[in-house]
Point group: D2
Chain length 365, copies 4
């Protein structure tokens, strides 16, 4: 009876609500609507040597059958370890090994996908029948719900990065997948026709003028030489304060992101360059195309060199530095296109300390 | 040594990958990319009597201060119980009680929000200075990042439904919140000016022609009489096979969803009407505005009557029946606008058994 | 020989250029690129009594056959008399008489067309199979390249205004015309289904959600009662300084102009109201739906009463006054949608003399 | 009195209508709404030698002052001789001579303008402060209402083509013109920065990502080498049946026409190539960048060689042939962007005679 007197009627109401699968907003509003983005995701950095070594090992172990088709080692953000394949809350990155003569049969899925070639050449990707050969540094699109397959006509192993919006589609419960009836989709036209159609800046074949809603991009292979040249030319101008010399990969028929949902960006940092800090809602997976340097994320320094991968969570301060003697190139994918579609993108400049965070600690994997 | 022989080298590789925060795609691809949407969310139905009773109790207990401003009982989907406030993976619904003389101070947040009035009148909402009075059946918008406050000039308690895209914004890590400097935002023009500006079908004041990108909707209160009349007129035509007579609430300046991310729909089911089954990627929270009937969801029958709430998860078969003697009205919110923006919406018609699922069981809360 | 000395070599060059169908820009630049719009078009006003009398006469004379189908008297701007049917450089207005039992066979043309009902009822218009009955004050759309026919099931003569962008299409050399294979296009659904589908403000049937690019408008009849009510409600707010209480007719699925190229507007001027002067690039044809007053155009006063038509040329100052004892209603069509598409619309406010032009003379037809 | 009996009452009505500035549609409908585009415009071809000779003569005669700034010889279509500067109903082309050291002071106008460089180098154009040097074959944009000026730092005369939509703006009564306060607009950044920013295919600087509505194009100089390379690559694929290998110049931020209203196209015809006939509503001004061949227009053969200009009126059959031993390059401007905005574009393929018109006569200037 005295116990009874001690019962807080609000607590009792909360318990009753819980029983009835209801909740008391007066207790939990702060969890649902936060002043700034809150989440459990943390930054992380993976060394290339570690990834590569495991990947080559998988090449020895997985030699035939369905498993070989999936010979991919992917980033598993330790702060999101219950979510299989999440590098960020929205994005996935895998590193794939394809051996000469191997085939990844034609299929399609509602996830968008991009490929960034890390090592080798001679492999090809076919997208809705457009066949393109992959060389180091190329960005190849296999947009959501397009039929695509890969093969390898070369003589050496090929390694590339797969970027998919696995988390985005998972969170939105929109995953669909289909295998094509045949192993490969019939090839249309000449190989690399997509590149031949878009070989000039600011011009578009008249055939791509009509009856197009812009999806998917008719250009599916963005060659490295071309992107590198663009950055070198751009470096005659003022760099972006936060990202140095940087370009987005775009769909040439509408100027939008090359993949409709996955933003792709290449940055070039001059030797000694140290960019100013800022933060934004969209999250990013970085792959160091070439060079060495560091990125300070919320006060922690992540040192990187060629091949490494690292991730920047939403609304985390970050700034980049190049400590090498040559230009550093950072390739990255992000979920900015979706954030802008839905109106949730925000950005804030780091104003304190002349725009540079104080480094509190150095990341050790 | 004999142990050593037993170690599967692939298992060992998997363990090493796990240590290095990497993952083996050959083991987990099926979890990331599924043939059809897979998720843990289940349907559920909440009886109005239960909700209302708890809400009134909270009105007795929370009488002053900050907690009273949040006098809201919300749906907590038992299948998503670790995610506070999730009725679906993207949407939240709360039932709010505002007593005469109370005020909810002006604030804004990046979540979109709608209000659907269940009981009472005399309360008002102010959106960026536009003041509108709320009556039963009205839909009132407080779009993302607009300043809004509520007050109550009437004499009886008011109850309304709040619909926010809490899960959507949470999953995308985009929550921002700000309190306005003062308790209320200064009122512009006359109360209900928004309604006076849009009092005709198919016409728009010339002042709303210029310099508008369509966000937010200049019309913030969609009166019940008007929507009811629209449905009665519509009922002279063929009903939609899946939803009966149904209208979307739209922004009159661009024809898009009234709230840019939260779809709002009102359906009218004639007595005896039983719609055909279908499923789609977008999820839905239903509130029974009036009437009695049932919804069959993936073979389970959910019986509803006036005031009840229920949810339909992504990619679940569903069909509706009206067992009452009068028209039934179902109000619902959904995440279809976002699904369409990002290109993930799909729909499938239930073809078997003349379009009607076999009912395997009847839901009991 | 002495003559020869007198020849200006520049004049000689000009002559040679002319012979070779070339021109000297140094002589003519000022004609091509002017500081402000220059054109030969002037304002004009037509009295309703005059139009109506001639129209009824034509009804007596044209009783059978193809000519009866075209029983239309149109405005011929005297300043554009070499351009058949030009009321402005872009727009045409005709006043049509349809007698009971008559039919205008189904056809389509690339000109956009609107109908505004002046007298009578019982006639109908069918647009791509949607049939709608016409009553006084209704605006009925027959958008470019849609099949349309008219008939008359009533007992009294009907008179309506036809508005087409004849000049626009002529100048752009884009006129196409086709007769339908049969006299009438098969009617779909119930008459006035278009009105039943859009009977509520801010709501849209879900059937009109999918697979629509917004052209043509699914709503084809904008009822007068509805528009009048919208203006009465609007009159609780501040009037537009230049146009009083005014609404544009819009396509409810995209918020754009009801006819994609021909803007349609209804204005209400309160008794005694005198609006401020301004000018814009788009031109306008006005029809006085009801009331009496005047419009000052570039310093000349045009006095109007019920039924009259008048035109405002591009870039002409204009202001309106209501001298009657009741609200005046002005219906108008304009080419603003095209001007905005192509980026040529400009507007300037009349600042002198408190915004009111000095009246230099009064127009006499 | 007997005379009186002879008066046709319809004729009398027509006269009365004319007196009252009204018109009888039953007499004139066929003039306003035609089955197919009708207009008085005819094709024409101007020989380069003739143009150039007159232009150089003008260079001798106009040496100082305002006239020198306008040292332009323009095409005056003999079928449109009452419309000053009309090469087609919508488009103007002038051939401009700028001598070393000369300046065309900064100004802006509502007409869109493009420049195509025919001879020389060393001149520059500045657009809203972006300075770019002009070389043979370059396309330089000076979009509508942007401040622009030209100067010449080279040592030899420069000749380029000016393309403006003079007729379009004239017909729509939208001409505005302003001189800048100073002779030249202050230069921003480095010369040819516009080219450096867009030096890669399918990539865009991140600075051009934000806050842009796509107008005007941030790329203002489309270099000839780049376009030529694009066409050479394109020639590995199937040619367009009507235009050979052809590219549109586009705004890289939105994929739309480089100039919002004036379409610009470069075609390459292989030796011996003879394209199939078709016709469309948009009109075209052609300039032969290089090569020799012919174009058959409505049965008349127009033979062209390097430097010539010719025009194709709306809805005229046309097909092209290359009679030279090398690739022929045809640059052209058109009004297709506007035709598509307003929904008047139509196209028809010439089906008879395997797609080739019978040549009835050969054009002689």
């Amino acid at each position: 009876m005295s116990q009874h007197l001690n019962v807080d009627p609000l607590e009792e109401l909360s318990k009753q609500l819980e029983n009835d699968h209801l909740g008391p907003l007066w207790e939990t509003l702060g969890e649902m609507v936060t002043k700034e983005p809150t989440h459990s995701m943390k930054p992380y950095l993976w060394k290339w040597q570690t990834i590569r070594q495991h990947l080559l090992k998988s090449g020895e172990l997985l030699t035939v059958g369905r498993k070989a088709e999936r010979r991919v080692v992917y980033l598993q953000n330790p702060s999101l370890k219950d979510k299989v394949g999440f590098a960020t809350e929205t994005l996935y990155a895998g590193i794939q090994l394809l051996l000469p003569g191997e085939v990844a049969p034609s299929h399609r899925h509602s996830q968008g996908a991009i490929r960034f070639v890390i090592e080798g050449d001679g492999a090809f990707t076919t997208v809705n029948g457009e066949k393109t050969y992959m060389e180091e540094g190329d960005l190849v699109l296999t947009p959501a719900w397009t039929w695509h397959d890969h093969g390898h006509e070369g003589t050496e192993p090929m390694i590339w990065m797969d970027g998919l919006d696995v988390g985005m589609v998972k969170n939105l419960c929109g995953s669909f997948f289909e295998l094509f009836d045949e192993e490969t989709y019939p090839v249309k036209g000449i190989p690399d026709g997509t590149i031949s159609r878009f070989a000039g800046v600011g011009v578009r074949p008249i055939a791509d003028r009509k009856g197009k809603d812009g999806y998917p991009s008719p250009l599916i292979n963005y060659k490295w030489d071309n992107v590198k040249k663009a950055l070198e030319e751009l470096s005659q101008l003022e760099p972006d304060p936060f990202d140095g010399y940087a370009v987005d990969y775009i769909n040439p028929t509408n100027g939008q992101s090359a993949d409709a949902r996955i933003g792709c960006t290449m940055q070039m940092l001059s030797p000694g360059m140290h960019t100013q800090g800022h933060r934004h809602v969209h999250s990013v997976i970085y792959h160091v195309k070439k060079g060495s340097g560091y990125t300070v994320i919320n006060g922690e320094k992540y040192e990187w060199s060629t091949g490494d991968f690292f991730v920047i969570p939403p609304w985390h301060w970050h700034e980049h530095g190049n400590t090498g003697e040559e230009e550093a190139f950072l390739f990255s994918i992000n979920d900015r296109p979706v954030m802008e579609m839905v109106g949730l993108e925000m950005e804030e400049v780091y104003e304190k300390n002349n725009g540079f965070q104080e480094v509190e600690r150095i990341f050790q994997p």
